[in-house]
């Protein structure tokens, strides 16, 4: 059994990166592997917004990530600096910056690149999408 860390660099819509990453993560967990965390960097942070509203007959990858996190207790970690530059804001950053809205709820944690690096250090293999 292996210990993976997953990095997602593509957005929820407009690229297949996120769906591929989600399916890989699901398959890893189903096969008994460990997933240290899923780290969202670059445009990957767009996966954490609650304001994605895909049409009712379309697959909702954001919901997929939330369900995976709830089911398997896998942490979904955003790079906070990548997120803030892209308008991806949690309640805490909204309060700190005087914003009246935010779009990231508790399924996604805001973290730093340090969490990616320490994750890489503790995992057997990093898989990037």
């Amino acid at each position: 059994m292996s210990k993976f860390i997953i990095q997602v660099n593509g957005p929820a819509y407009g690229s297949s990166a996120s769906v591929n990453a989600l399916r890989f993560t699901q398959a890893s967990l189903r096969s008994g592997h460990d997933v240290v965390c899923v780290f969202f960097y670059q445009d990957g942070v767009y996966n954490s917004t609650d304001f994605n509203l895909p049409a009712s007959d379309e697959y909702d990858v954001v919901m997929g990530w939330k369900q995976l996190a709830a089911l398997h207790q896998v942490s979904l970690v955003n790079c906070v600096s990548a997120a803030l530059r892209r308008g991806i804001v949690s309640q805490q950053e909204a309060l700190e910056n005087g914003l009246s809205h935010w779009n990231v709820q508790s399924s996604f944690i805001m973290g730093g690149l340090g969490e990616l690096v320490t994750g890489i250090e503790s995992a057997d293999r990093l898989i990037c999408f």
Binding site: Y41, Q42, L113, L116, V117, I120, E121
Partner: protein, 118 residues
């Protein structure tokens, strides 16, 4: 400690890939990882000196390339073929790099633990 290789494959300024690659390279080094950096394909355009990204609304993150030695990132490779493709001779480069052919880069990638492509 792991051997982490950050591979720059995209041109600067048109996307933020290069900037976020450099952020990760420096941060990994500050977390005591053994970091190497490789410039290949359009990524070699990061090395062209005297760029002024502020003129097109960008940030001059290329200036930070000069900080690589301060972070103990001493392994900086550029692809010989790609430099030739973009007409980048030694005198046009902003920082000292070791110029390698495809085989040598490939051999380096086999030596490291993880390769992150930007």
């Amino acid at each position: 400690m792991k051997k982490i290789c950050i591979l720059f494959r995209s041109a600067p300024h048109g996307t933020t890939k290069g900037r976020e690659a450099l952020d990760l390279a420096l941060l990994s080094a500050s977390f005591e990882q053994e970091v190497s950096v490789v410039f290949i394909d359009e990524g070699v355009l990061h090395l062209l000196k005297d760029q002024q990204p502020e003129l097109i609304g960008g940030k001059d993150y290329l200036a930070t390339l000069k900080a690589l030695p301060l972070y103990d990132i001493e392994t900086v490779f550029a692809c010989k073929q790609s430099l030739g493709d973009y007409g980048l001779s030694h005198g046009l480069l902003s920082i000292p790099v070791t110029i390698l052919n495809d085989e040598a880069i490939s051999a380096h990638l086999k030596l490291v633990d993880e390769v992150l492509v930007f």
